[in-house]
Symmetry: none
Subunit: 407 residues, 2 copies
């Protein structure tokens, strides 16, 4: 039997008798290096509240996708939400659109775009147009916005940072994916937009997008170095089963950054108001406690500090979370999981493949008698190293939502 079918067959019909809370400290997992005396930020931080929780919890580590695979935020979070990231892929165009806070609809096709430099022969000489600044990007996107419609398809252009922007093609019976127009190397001409299969909606999308390029590109002819643009990751909003349908849990998302709000929206979680302060985020759980079965709380600071190589900054965010933790526990979740979507080692200044630590606390989680929520403690936990996609299953088992398999 397929895993998903098996889990589904065991789901008891009742709602949980308490709340399931997933607290994501984005990128909190780290590695110990000589530079910091072989300490990780979780080890260097002073965290009396997390320590107390850890002593009563089960722990382990999670592989976000597969060993050695470094996930982006999309796959990282899809795993935490119980979707195999290798199976449910979201095209980059869609992720970027969600990341810019665009409200995608079924039938939309989204593309990442870069401003670029092309010469008189149509050869791409700079794929990033000298990394123009965001202000100029905004102005150029306004120019492109003059193309509002191609046939039945509405065009929405939204600027991003530096040379990056997003184009959403809405309606008119179109679908992705389509190959990039980006040649991925300088010195080559742009690739024509063309469908790779004979699916009618995909062929129509190719036609619409090719026409958009022909109409929009001349609008930039005077804007050297940004006198052209390249499209990448052109794709449709994917068909992902809704979280509530899949797990029979109503879910509220408490996230600040558009990317995470977009992912939550993609699977039908309800986004609560944006609150940047960790204490205010935790207060939202208390305020909305009766309205959802499951809460997803996203704390971004740990990842940003990791990306910046800012070890001390990462420590500070962890300590801020620790100080706020008693507030979150004021209404005790039935099941609480604290983890990351992936590691972002400060020493690497980037996401990585290193399994992130996970703490699971419930009245039946058992205690692994480990003293702290750290990587080395988690290594000795009863959960072992497992794929992120199983976390929701363990949370649901701890909430008493699965019946016994077989006699």
């Amino acid at each position: 039997m397929e895993e998903e079918t098996l889990y589904r067959s065991l789901r008891l019909p009742h709602r949980p008798e308490g709340k399931l809370v997933l607290l994501v400290l984005d990128g909190v997992g780290d590695i110990a290096t000589t530079a910091t005396g072989y300490l990780t930020p979780l080890e260097a931080a002073v965290t009396p509240n997390l320590d107390e929780l850890a002593r009563a919890s089960a722990m382990g580590r999670m592989t976000p996708v597969l060993p050695g695979i470094t996930p982006g935020s999309g796959p990282g979070h899809l795993g935490l939400f119980g979707y195999d990231p290798a199976q449910f892929q979201v095209d980059r165009g869609v992720i970027e659109a969600l990341g810019l806070g665009m409200d995608l609809q079924p039938g939309d096709v989204a593309a990442r775009a870069n401003f670029c430099t092309v010469n008189a022969e149509g050869v791409v000489t700079d794929r990033r147009a000298g990394r123009i600044d965001t202000e100029l990007n905004r102005t150029l996107c306004r120019k492109l916005g003059a193309v509002r419609k191609i046939g039945e398809t509405e065009i929405i252009v939204r600027h991003g940072r530096s040379h990056r922007f997003v184009v959403v093609f809405r309606g008119g019976g179109i679908a992705g994916p389509l190959p990039d127009s980006d040649p991925h190397r300088e010195g080559l001409p742009m690739r024509p937009i063309a469908a790779e299969n004979r699916e009618e909606r995909v062929e129509r999308a190719a036609e619409v997008i090719a026409r958009f390029c022909r109409q929009a590109m001349p609008l930039l002819s005077q804007d050297l170095p940004a006198n052209g643009f390249l499209l990448r990751g052109i794709g449709s909003l994917p068909r992902i089963p809704g979280f509530e349908e899949r797990f029979q849990l109503s879910a509220g998302a408490i996230a600040v950054y558009p990317m995470y709000r977009g992912l939550a929206q993609l699977i039908g979680m309800r986004n609560l108001e944006e609150e940047r302060d960790i204490r205010k985020q935790f207060q939202q759980v208390l305020d909305e406690f009766e309205n959802f079965d499951y809460f997803f709380i996203h704390v971004k600071g740990t990842d940003m500090a990791g990306e910046d190589g800012d070890f001390d900054g990462k420590v500070a965010i962890i300590e801020a979370v620790d100080r706020a933790l008693p507030l979150l526990l004021r209404k005790r979740p039935l099941v609480l999981a604290i983890t990351a979507d992936h590691s972002t080692p400060a020493a690497m200044k980037s996401h990585s493949w290193h399994p992130q630590p996970v703490l699971l606390n419930s009245p039946v989680s058992g205690s692994d008698r480990l003293s702290r929520f750290t990587e080395t403690c988690a290594n000795r936990g009863s959960l072992g190293v497992f794929q992120s996609k199983y976390l929701i299953r363990l949370m649901m088992a701890n909430a008493g939502l699965y019946g016994k398999f077989g006699a």
Copy 2:
């Protein structure tokens, strides 16, 4: 290559040069909670002999099926015997029949049954007939036994406890599975027995079983509250490859309870005489030492104590096993695995999904230099957390039964 094909291709043709012994302490895995000072029964027990063995062994923990899934005894043991429990499913009727010690044969279809109360309109008003006592159940089953044959199919009715019994339909070219006649809710009529596919043997089974119900039900008409019965989990003896054929190991089973003897029989292990005392069970291994390659020893007491929430009782059984262990080791197995089919935490009074600890000892198991056979020690073992279905592979590797894969 399929896993099974790969393992099979590596199986060396020789018999093992010693014995492989699997000692199952049913449900021995547990969780540490505040109620017991964060100790588990394995930790609270005084086990000098297990401790000595642990120091020379590899350890780890096993997921019986998949993360968060709580197995019944059937799937729990199939995993230990090297069968993926999600792939090899045994219908509940078959498990119950085996559990009552019935000798099922290929071509049999077995159903669980409940006595129930139906009103004049044929509506089920009590799905358990007020949980009648076992003595009355026995009398009523004798009444139903008057229907001995339907066409070519022999009928065998066997009483269980309280309102539960089993019906086996033998021969006549029939096969399951069939949907339940149990409406699974009171206030609804019984469901008609009907095949869900057009397979000839399944349709014939539906016809035979429907006729059985029509003939047998009136025999109970005066027996309020047990004036009807419901059938559930109607299924055939599954096609499971025999243990000896699959692993090229002859196997003897030393189990007391009919359920485990039934499962052993299902995969072709030879059941030795029933001995309830742990020392006598171990003595059976010594007595039969030359007659089998593999021994499965089943100790039930740990699970029963767990189900009863009897922490001290569970400790006592573990200590009894420990005291008897030197007897088992008098003829040293080449490979000895000690584990459970699942955890049965005393605090939960039920089976659970928590990975059970496993100890693996052989001249080449290596030692993880851990001091005791406990959950927390096992968390730090070299075997990690792995699916139960791989245990037999590790045992066979330790017995030198697999050749090298590739050059």
